[in-house]
C-alpha cells in the first residue's frame, strides 16, 4: 500500500529510502529540505509501487538507510596494519563473523592504550541481505543512482554531534514509525552498542512505561558487559506530545541515570528542518540528517553504486562544461573590456592626431619650402661639419718634421710617406716602439698622422755608433719637443737588436758614402674643433 502516492512525482535532487521491518519510507529532498515523503509496504505490492515510482521520477540519486534488527555488530581488535594486509585481515574477519552477506562495514574506533596498541574495530553487517536486495535491484534495473547503503545507528552519531552532546556515556533513544524503539549507546561519542525493540502501534498503549521498561533492560545489559563504569548514563530521549508528557512524569534521575527529554519538534528545528513535526517518531530527522550530510557509503558495493559513479561523472562533465563556459565568458569579458577600452583610446588618439595634424599643417604652411625636412637639413650640415673636423692634411706634420731635421744636418731626408689612420699601428707588422708613447695630454685623439721617413746619415764616416746616436736623438727630439705619439725605427744602418743578424768583413775597409735608415713617426691628432 502507498499512503501518499501521487500520479505526478515532483522532481527531487536526492532521495532517502529508509528500509525498516514494517515499511519503507522515501523522502524527497529539494532546495535544502525534504519536500515529499512516500511509504511503501514491505511486500511485492510495495516493490511494484516503488518500481513505478522510479520509472516516473527523474533519476536523481537515492541514499538507502537501513534500520532493522538484522543488523549485527562485533567489536574486535586487530594488529595495527596498513594497506592490503589490513584489508585482508578485515575481509577475513568479516567473512568469519558475517557469512553470506555482502553488506559489511567496519569502523575504526581508536587503538588500545597498551600492549601492541591494536586497532579497535567495530564490524557491522546486515545479516539478512534479502531485506535490502530487492530495493537495490529495482534501483539498478531502473538505472537510478544508488549513492550508498547506510546504517541508521551509525548515522545517529552525527545526530549526537548536531545536538552538541559532550557526555562520556550517552544513550540516545529514538522512535521510528516503521522500525520501533532504537537505543544507541555511545562512549566518548563512539557508538559501542545498539538495540532495536518493537513498539506498539501509536495510541494503543501508553509509550512511557514501555520505553522505560526497554531502557531498563538495556541499562542492565550495558552494566553486565561492563560498558558502564560508575559514571551516570546520560539518556537522551526524543519524543513529542503526549509521549513526551508521559516520559516527563515517569523519568526520575538517579545516581546512575540522568534523563534528557527532547521534543522531536525542537530537535528538528535545531537541525533546520522546515515545518513542524507532530509525531514522537524521528524518521524524518534521520532522513534529513542523511540527505543533509551525505556521509560515506557504509554497505553498498561498487557494482551497486555503479550508476551513482556514472551520475557523478555526468555531473562532473556538466560542471566542467559550465566551468569552461563561465571561465571563457569571464576571460572573454575581460578581453572585451580591454578591447573596448583600447578602442576608445584608439579613437581618442586618432582625434588628437587629426587635431595636431591640422595644427601642424597650418604652422608648417608658414615655413618656407625646403628641399628636405628641417631635421634632415640639420643632419646634412652636421655631417659636413664632422667631415670637416676630421679633415687631414700632411703639410703641418711635414713642416714639423722639417724643423726637427733642421737640427740634424747630418741626416738627409729622402722620402716621407704620410698617411692618416685611427689605428696608430696601421701599416706596420706591429713594430715595437723604441720610445714609449707620449703621456696623455687630456685631449682626445680622434685619428693619427703616420709618417714613415726614409733618410740617410750623410756624410757617413763609418762610425755606426755615432750614426745610431744621431738617429736616436732625432727620435727623442720628435718625441719630447714635437709630441710624437711614438717613434719607431724601421730600418737602421746597423741593426743591433739581438734578434737580428750582423754580418761583416774586417778585411773590407771601404766605408759607404751614406748610411740609410727609416723611421716611423706617429702623431696623435685632434679634430679641428678639438
Amino acid at each position: 500500500m502507498i499512503s501518499s502516492l501521487r500520479s505526478n512525482f515532483s522532481s527531487a535532487r536526492r532521495r532517502a529510502l529508509c528500509i525498516a521491518s514494517d515499511g519503507v519510507s522515501l523522502y524527497q529532498w529539494d532546495k535544502g529540505s525534504i519536500t515529499d515523503a512516500f511509504v511503501f509496504d514491505v511486500d511485492d505490492v510495495g516493490l511494484a509501487n516503488f518500481e513505478r515510482y522510479l520509472g516516473e521520477t527523474p533519476k536523481v540519486p537515492i541514499y538507502l538507510m537501513v534500520d532493522v534488527v538484522e543488523e549485527e555488530y562485533r567489536h574486535e581488535n586487530i594488529p595495527h596494519l596498513y594497506g592490503s594486509d589490513r584489508q585482508a585481515v578485515i575481509e577475513r574477519k568479516q567473512a568469519w563473523f558475517f557469512r553470506g552477506t555482502p553488506y559489511c562495514h567496519v569502523m575504526m574506533q581508536g587503538r588500545e592504550a597498551e600492549g601492541r596498541r591494536d586497532d579497535k574495530l567495530m564490524f557491522t553487517a546486515i545479516i539478512n541481505p534479502d531485506i535490502v536486495i530487492p530495493w537495490v535491484r529495482l534501483c539498478t534495473q531502473n538505472k537510478v543512482a544508488l549513492a550508498g547503503i547506510y546504517s541508521l545507528p551509525i548515522l545517529s552519531a552525527s545526530l549526537l554531534a548536531k545536538m552538541k552532546v559532550t557526555s562520556n556515556d550517552v544513550l540516545l533513544v529514538t522512535m521510528q514509525g516503521s522500525s520501533g524503539l532504537r537505543q544507541s549507546f555511545f562512549n566518548d561519542r563512539i557508538l559501542k552498542m545498539r538495540r532495536l525493540a518493537k513498539l506498539p502501534r501509536l495510541g494503543t498503549v501508553p509509550f512511557a512505561p514501555y520505553i522505560l521498561r526497554e531502557l531498563g533492560k538495556f541499562e542492565r545489559y550495558l552494566t553486565s558487559v561492563q560498558l558502564l563504569k560508575g559514571a551516570p548514563l546520560d539518556t537522551y530521549i526524543l519524543a513529542h506530545g503526549e509521549t513526551l508528557d508521559q516520559l516527563e512524569q515517569a523519568c526520575r534521575n538517579t545516581e546512575t541515570v540522568r534523563y534528557h527529554l527532547l521534543d522531536v519538534a525542537d530537535v528538528a528545528r535545531r537541525l533546520g528542518i522546515h515545518g513542524v513535526l507532530t509525531t514522537p517518531f524521528s524518521d524524518h530527522i534521520f532522513a534529513h540528517l542523511l540527505l543533509r550530510t551525505q556521509p560515506k557509503n557504509h554497505f553498498a558495493s561498487n557494482e551497486e553504486r555503479r550508476y551513482y559513479t556514472l551520475y557523478q561523472t555526468r555531473a562532473g562533465l556538466y560542471a566542467a562544461s559550465v566551468i569552461a563556459l563561465l571561465g571563457s565568458a569571464l576571460w572573454s569579458w575581460f578581453n572585451l573590456i580591454d578591447g573596448v577600452s583600447d578602442r576608445q583610446l584608439a579613437r581618442d588618439a586618432e582625434k588628437k592626431a587629426v587635431f595636431y595634424q591640422a595644427r601642424y599643417d597650418r604652422e608648417k604652411g608658414r615655413l618656407p619650402p625646403t628641399a628636405v625636412s628641417p631635421a634632415d637639413i640639420k643632419t646634412a650640415v652636421d655631417i659636413v661639419d664632422t667631415l670637416t673636423q676630421h679633415k687631414a692634411a700632411p703639410l703641418g706634420r711635414m713642416e714639423v718634421l722639417g724643423q726637427a731635421l733642421a737640427g740634424f744636418p747630418i741626416l738627409r731626408l729622402e722620402e716621407i710617406q704620410w698617411t692618416v689612420s685611427t689605428d696608430p699601428q696601421a701599416g706596420t707588422g706591429a713594430a715595437t716602439p723604441q720610445v714609449p708613447p707620449v703621456p696623455d695630454t687630456g685631449q682626445a685623439t680622434s685619428y693619427y698622422e703616420i709618417a714613415e721617413i726614409t733618410a740617410n746619415v750623410y756624410p757617413f764616416d763609418g762610425n755606426y755608433r755615432a750614426a745610431l746616436d744621431q738617429i736616436n736623438r732625432f727620435g727623442e727630439v720628435l718625441r719630447s719637443k714635437y709630441q710624437a705619439h711614438s717613434v719607431t725605427a724601421v730600418n737602421l744602418p746597423l741593426d743591433t737588436r739581438s734578434s737580428a743578424q750582423i754580418r761583416g768583413d774586417t778585411k773590407d775597409v771601404s766605408i759607404p758614402e751614406k748610411a740609410a735608415f727609416s723611421v716611423r713617426v706617429v702623431f696623435g691628432a685632434e679634430h679641428a674643433n678639438g
Binding site: 559513479t309 578581453n335 578591447g339 588618439a349 588628437k352 601642424y360 659636413v384 667631415l387
Partner: protein
C-alpha cells in the same frame, strides 16, 4: 569502475555538452582575444601617429629656427657640390689652373668612381649616404711648398670638401736644382672628395 561497465549512452549527452562548451569557450576566447588585439593594435598605431604629429607640431618652432640658421648653409653646401651631385669638371679645371699658376713642373691626376664611405669615426648620417671619390695626384715639385700651395688653392676654390688620405714625398735628385722647370721633389697624394646625397637615391632639388 571498469571501462566495460561504463554505459556510454548515459555519458554521451554530457560529453557532447562538454565538447560543445569547449568549442564555444574556445571561440569566445579566440574571438574576444582577436578583438582585444585588434583594438590594442589600432590604439598603438593611432597613438604612434599622435605622438609623431604632436612631436612634429611641437618642433615647428625648432624647424623654423633650423631653416633660418642652417638652410642657407645647406644651400651653400648644395651649390658647392658637397650636398647633392659632385662637380668633377670644376675640380679638374681648378687643378689645371693651379698647376699653371704655380708653374708646377708636372701634374698628373686620376679621379676614381664614387664609392660609399665608411668612416672610422662616429658619423650620424640619418637619411643620407656619404660617398667619396678618390683623386690621385702625381706631382713634380720644385719645392715642397708647391704642394701646400696646390692644396690651399683646392681649399679655396674647389667646390667640395676633401681630406688627404695619404701622401708620399720623394727627393727627385741629389742636387737641388734652381730652375722653375726642374723637379726636386716628387709627390704622390690621394685625396678623398666627399659628397652627401640621399640614401634613397632621390635627388635633392633646390
Amino acid at each position: 569502475m571498469r571501462t566495460v561497465d561504463i554505459e556510454w549512452p548515459l555519458l554521451s549527452a554530457p560529453l557532447a555538452a562538454l565538447v560543445v562548451a569547449l568549442i564555444i569557450s574556445a571561440l569566445l576566447v579566440i574571438a574576444s582575444g582577436y578583438f582585444r588585439d585588434q583594438m590594442a593594435g589600432a590604439y598603438r598605431l593611432n597613438n604612434q601617429k599622435f605622438l609623431e604629429v604632436s612631436r612634429k607640431y611641437l618642433s615647428v618652432d625648432q624647424d623654423e629656427l633650423i631653416i633660418k640658421e642652417q638652410y642657407p648653409r645647406f644651400v651653400n653646401l648644395y651649390r658647392r657640390g658637397i650636398v647633392g651631385e659632385e662637380k668633377r669638371l670644376d675640380w679638374v679645371e681648378i687643378l689645371k689652373n693651379a698647376a699653371a699658376t704655380l708653374k708646377l713642373p708636372g701634374l698628373r691626376y686620376e679621379i676614381t668612381s664614387r664609392e660609399a664611405y665608411s668612416p672610422a669615426f662616429p658619423l650620424v648620417t640619418g637619411p643620407y649616404q656619404v660617398s667619396t671619390s678618390t683623386m690621385k695626384l702625381e706631382l713634380g715639385l720644385l719645392h715642397e711648398n708647391d704642394l701646400a700651395s696646390l692644396l690651399q688653392d683646392l681649399d679655396e676654390k674647389a667646390p667640395g670638401i676633401y681630406t688627404v688620405k695619404e701622401c708620399k714625398l720623394t727627393r727627385a735628385q741629389n742636387v737641388v736644382a734652381e730652375k722653375p722647370d726642374d723637379e726636386n721633389v716628387k709627390a704622390e697624394c690621394d685625396l678623398l672628395w666627399f659628397t652627401v646625397s640621399l640614401a634613397s637615391g632621390e635627388k635633392i632639388n633646390l
